[in-house]
Symmetry: C2
Subunit: 408 residues, 2 copies
């Protein structure tokens, strides 16, 4: 807190030259459209080289959402030969004609098989054991079978060359099961980018409490977190942390605003480049993009709700691109009708936290202006009002982006 002009040197009070990118004490002369920020990210960031990972390792971390880096096609017909689809007795169906519970028909050549076993020569159907009467080696049919009953034909499940899954597909348990059955032991999956998360702190509460949330978000989007800080609001210390080697993406939270100790953008300029500072996004309008030590960098505001919003729309997009994932928001999106009007400033993308009502509609929990995470905690999801819209009236259909799948 100080009554001095915010751009002055806080130690001496002397005016010092302000860089063109220094908004401290002056405010933003303009803010980039969200689409401009997204365009910068998309142009600057390509996926990292994919990884070859054993199936068992993928299985243990499947919850983190690994995606295929290459399409997978069936290496051969599946099953590779006709086989029993159920336990029973393999028969020539013509041998069972007319069989019934009151008309047992002898089956001298009957062979017991289990589901998955190949069909013995000369057989074309499986009689379930319930339709068999056996006494030692003497077996009788108590029912008839049509050709192919209980048989899984070669290639019936899958033809060689069928494209099973496309590149970018988020893997599911059954995918791993099929790959194992097909003998595919190693998969080519999207990279796990190393993400340095710097908490740019200071004397006040805020960024230093954001480590857990950002760790969870980065992990969700496929990154491996290196958490640094909280560091003091010191330009040189932040620049050193930003430029240090060993990361594929830098995310910093805090010190992006117009206060005198908001030195994160200046530190980023020192560590690499400050490409864009300020975005027409509410909350989150002091976010910045650039590079640090040769890797992409996203600066997030320290106010927790602004941090969350800018993470989701900017940092998460950058990370998802690096990881070879679909860069769009990962939240399940469904249409919903809003109970109330959602007003929004033209030229600014605004995020409303909303909850579902008892009658299946959605209502805002907190306006885009309201700081703090309490609104997001009480919400089921969010609605984005695009920059070109001045909002929607009550009763309008909007896109609800759910915080999780249980909110549908």
């Amino acid at each position: 807190m100080s009554s001095a002009r915010a751009g002055d040197d806080p130690a001496t009070g002397d005016p010092r030259p302000l860089s063109a990118s220094d908004v401290r004490g002056r405010g933003f002369s303009s803010r980039a459209a969200l689409s401009v920020m997204e365009g910068w990210i998309d142009a600057a960031i390509l996926p990292l080289p994919p990884l070859a990972v054993p199936l068992a390792a993928i299985a243990a971390t499947l919850a983190e959402g690994p995606v295929l880096a290459e399409p997978v096609t069936a290496p051969g017909d599946w099953p590779p030969a006709d086989r029993a689809a159920r336990d029973g007795v393999a028969v020539a169906s013509s041998d069972t004609l007319g069989a019934g519970s009151s008309n047992p028909v002898p089956l001298p050549g009957a062979v017991t098989v289990a589901a998955g076993e190949p069909m013995p020569p000369g057989t074309d159907a499986i009689l379930p054991v319930e339709c068999i009467q056996a006494d030692g080696p003497f077996v009788e049919a108590l029912g008839s079978a049509a050709p192919g009953d209980g048989v899984e034909r070669r290639g019936e499940g899958l033809r060689a060359g069928t494209v099973l899954l496309k590149a970018g597909h988020p893997l599911r348990p059954q995918d791993l099961g099929l790959f194992a059955a097909l003998g595919i032991d190693v998969l080519c999956v999207g990279a796990r980018p190393r993400v340095r998360v710097v908490l740019a702190g200071g004397p006040r509460s805020g960024p230093e409490t954001l480590g857990a949330m950002l760790t969870a978000l980065v992990t969700r989007d496929g990154g491996v977190v290196e958490l640094v800080g909280p560091l003091p609001a010191d330009r040189a210390a932040l620049a050193a942390a930003y430029a240090a080697p060993g990361a594929d993406l830098l995310i910093s939270a805090g010190r992006t605003g117009v206060g005198e100790d908001d030195v994160a953008p200046l530190a980023l300029a020192d560590a690499g480049t400050l490409a864009l500072h300020g975005v027409a996004l509410r909350p989150g309008d002091s976010a910045a993009l650039g590079t640090a030590g040769g890797v992409p960098a996203v600066l997030l505001p320290g106010e927790p709700m602004a941090c969350l919003t800018a993470y989701e729309l900017l940092a998460g997009r950058a990370l998802r691109r690096l990881a070879g994932r679909d860069p769009v928001l990962p939240h399940p999106a469904v249409p919903a009708v809003t109970v109330r009007k959602l007003v929004s400033e033209i030229g600014c993308t605004e995020l409303y936290r909303v909850r579902r009502t008892a009658d299946g509609l959605v209502e805002p929990v907190a306006s885009p202006h309201r700081p703090g995470l309490a609104g997001a905690v009480l919400a089921d999801g969010f609605v984005l009002i695009p920059a070109e819209s001045e909002g929607v009236p009550a009763g309008a259909t909007v896109t609800l982006r759910c915080f999780d799948g249980t909110s549908l």
Copy 2:
């Protein structure tokens, strides 16, 4: 493969007494309704004691879906005192009356504050820096402020005692962020049950390929996997693996059918109790429930699609109960219209794998009779036809359960 009666001793060919629960070579005389199996699980299984886990540890594994074991209420008002909601200059709003860009008004007592800082005594509004003209210590307002402008009031975000989240709530990134801001460093979350997954193999392909899929499923539902096997289809070896200490839940895959080497149910009876064998569920009808070494046990068929289905409807329910989660299916569920008729046997719950069509409908990929995971891999989700239904006609609205949130 053998032409001997399947209940005989495979080594000697001599008949031996069959236990009442032995369906080998005879088939199931009846199968339990799915609701009976679910009822058994719900009656037999209570949640394990919850765990106190530091926020940072939860953050790193949030993708695995930890749930709150106790409700969380706000420990105090948030923010705890009036504070700045944005960077700017704290003023007494009455001092700014009439100020404008062509009518600067001196603010002798103006104090620069950053978002999150407490309001200085005697001030009731924050002027954004864009509305301030400063020259050294001389500050002028270029705009007026109303009382409360830019101020976040005590308790505005959250009132002390507000129930933030209920027991059973799956935690999300913003929940961790709010807890950190409120000083809640340790959370009481659902247990992570120790799940022994036994692959009951044999000479044929099948169960030995199921380890990766089951690991992924168990991890998704909050369990920690101990993978055992594949073991041979040996009753004593399986019973020993089932009864060994150190697990909270036993899941075994394979050897549950009516073939002669389907000894898993007998091994379960030896290791504890075989409560129910056979379920009116397709695929998955040879699943069994019981106890082994004092803990609940679920036997899954070895046919991969039957295994997946019985896991989702039985083993997963047991695990989710132990973990303190909602026991119902975890897949996002949305209404959808089916392109084709889905036929189903009365008395049997049947699972259709379905995919979305270009026009937003769903169509079956594979009938409940079709074995193999290829259908599940090509599907976006599944539709369950309940036991009391003989199916639904084309054009009917069904509940689509999505394999993941991206399929909505």
